[in-house]
Symmetry: C2
Subunit: 258 residues, 2 copies
């Protein structure tokens, strides 16, 4: 048996998200169907993390195990040949069995894109179309509140009963601007369900002048599921990059909730 | 009766094009349904020109006539309230009856976008994903051959029997680059069916080194429906801007084929 690591990009617009569910239009399912078609084996694609419906990826990672005889370049070529145009394997390499797409994650980067310019019909699936003038400087100040290790219960959709550990560490939040597009990049080991979108919605509220820095600090400290009422639209969110621990470096922390 | 001029943007991905046909998913039909819903009148939306399936617009223009009592800002507000998110009225103003969205056109601009970088899953509906290295300098040289007044029969899908006048004038063709995206902008009074896409496909062949400048000159001179075998994909094409003659300036040339 050999294990392969794949970096995959997808336009999430047409899909219910990464994970297979009873409805049959997930990215995982499209990929597993192709793996089966090529090898006639039942192969599971194990991803670094789920992405929600309409969320995009330029650097999702999954691994799969197989006994089929293809080498890495031929696997990549064959998979891309059968995948729909909006899913594309960027790279594929053989890895040791100690590699695990989810458990070996060192750091993830999510980007959130906001269109600050005119409403753009060709961008409705790819950026949040913001109708309001945003004070970006104030948003950057507010983002500093989130950096570091915090209990992010206030910014997570999951209940504390089911997922008692909602402490995560954000390494940095970087703002960049390309013409009308403001990108907020979040880096950290792991993120809770809806966390990036709830943090972004909160920063947008700051940018609109509807929340102060003090309000944001209070929201974070409250650890209260009712304190953040907004969740930024999924189509602005991109899973950009996943870094992995090298052999032996991996502390094998398992976070069930990421 | 009053006449209104509208500038409209749309993402053409989901539509069969501007013009209503037996199948029911045209942009014209969406707009006319909204005009009817607001006014309960049967109102026709008369556009500057058709766009084909999957072609986008940032500056399509149409006019409509109505007896309904709304003023221009309220018309715009009401239409945008009912339109799907991928169609948006940019501006709407009352005009005199001498204005005609199609017959008063002075100049149109079409852009064609080519992604010269890595295959981008989020751009498959918005730019031609070029897998080949293109010699852009050579393409620019070739584009000069098309500038001016020519019989573009070689670069038009319509038969000469049905449309005997296939002479058009291209005022300029401008190349610009923004990171990986090469944009070729064509300006002229009118363009034949598929003309911009066939010219672009020809320039791409030059960029790939499969046609010389001499070949292109010969193709143009041939006035032969079989000389251009390629038609660039519709999703790279954008109707960007339409300029109109002012009152009395309009020579009222009617070109049935545009």
């Amino acid at each position: 048996m050999r294990r392969f690591k794949c970096v995959v990009s997808y336009d999430g617009t047409a899909y219910i998200g990464w994970q297979s569910q009873c409805k049959n239009n997930s990215i995982q399912e499209k990929i597993e169907a192709v793996l089966h078609r090529i090898s006639n084996e039942e192969i599971k694609a194990v991803a670094a993390g789920r992405t929600d419906a309409k969320v995009h990826a330029y650097g999702q990672v999954f691994h799969f195990d197989t006994d089929f005889y293809l080498d890495a370049p031929r696997w990549q070529w064959a998979i891309n040949g059968y995948l729909p145009k909006d899913i594309r394997i960027q790279s594929l390499e053989e890895v040791g069995e100690e590699f695990h797409a989810r458990f070996s994650v060192k750091r993830k980067q999510y980007d959130y894109r906001i269109n600050l310019g005119e409403y753009d019909v060709c961008m409705i699936h790819y950026a949040y179309q913001c109708r309001h003038v945003l004070n970006v400087e104030e948003m950057e100040k507010a983002s500093k509140i989130f950096i570091g290790k915090h209990d992010f219960s206030s910014f997570c959709a999951n209940s504390l009963e089911q997922f008692p550990n909602q402490v995560r560490e954000i390494e940095d939040i970087v703002f960049s601007r390309d013409k009308d597009i403001l990108t907020i990049s979040y880096r950290g080991k792991g993120f809770l369900r809806y966390m990036v979108r709830m943090l972004t919605a909160t920063l947008i509220e700051v940018g609109r002048g509807r929340l102060t820095l003090e309000d944001v600090s209070k929201m974070l400290d409250a650890r209260d599921k009712d304190s953040c009422k907004h969740n930024a639209e999924p189509q602005g969110l991109y899973l950009m990059k996943i870094e992995y621990y090298q052999n032996n470096e991996n502390p094998l922390e398992i976070e069930e909730n990421d």
